[in-house]
Amino acid sequence: MSDVKRHKREVRNYLVGFGLAALLTIIPFAITAAGGLSRTLFDLEILLAAVVQVLVHLRYFLHIDLRHTPRENLLALGFTGVLMVLMIGGTLWIMGNLAARMMGT
């Protein structure tokens, strides 16, 4: 591939990522400003937009690609994801449970 072509592809990659990320940022900010959703729907929407945007950043900015990224990098990323779910989920579960048992004291 020629250098010019590669340059164009890399710049386009960043611009597409930026466009998607901007859109996924504007949506939760607009919904926050507009109001009117129930708390559950609001939380769900924010979470969804955040997760999708993290994936966009990983794909377009950090160039994570299931076929071309070295296997050990993907493994580390996956392991990190598992640890995050365990630690955040575990913390919320245990502390939430404790708070429920301590109710009224």
Partner: protein, 195 residues
Amino acid sequence: MSEVDTKAHDEAEEKAYGFWLFLMSDAILFSLLFATYAIMVTATDNGPARTEIFGYWRTSANTALLLSSSLTMGLASIAISEARKSAAFQWIFVTMILALAFLVLEIQEFAGLVAQGAGPDRSGFLSAYFTLVGTHGAHVTVGLIWMAVLCLHLAMAPIGPAVQSATERLTMFWHLVGIVWIGIYSMVYLPGLYQ
């Protein structure tokens, strides 16, 4: 590729992998700060709650600044990988301005909170908030210093494999800082601002 080139390439790849592992451990650190914040968010000790202290426009401005800086950092890294020096300077300069503006807004916000009696010592909620957002701000500061060092490197010598591989790591670092910010505005600011 000559043998020397291959060796430099392997080394750069090894360093990128090592740095990737560091970034993953950094991400785990942040996820624990997020968990702490989620637990502490109701522990306001009759002080200010999250619905009272955040500003919509400041949060929007900070988000816009940091997201734009991810783009300009990417453009800088492309310029450096192609050994185009003046374009590299341009984009790193823009990235540094954006990062600096972000830090100024954040320091203003922190100073304002402390002035109105909502400092980190006020409640568990505020301790967790300052720890999480402050740690992110410290990362932005480190990134800014790293960019300044990169500018010195660029000014002193022609762009070679060493600077290119360092830039690759700085770019990875900067994108992680951007990803953490997505978590911060989604989990801290917007839920606080939503009435």
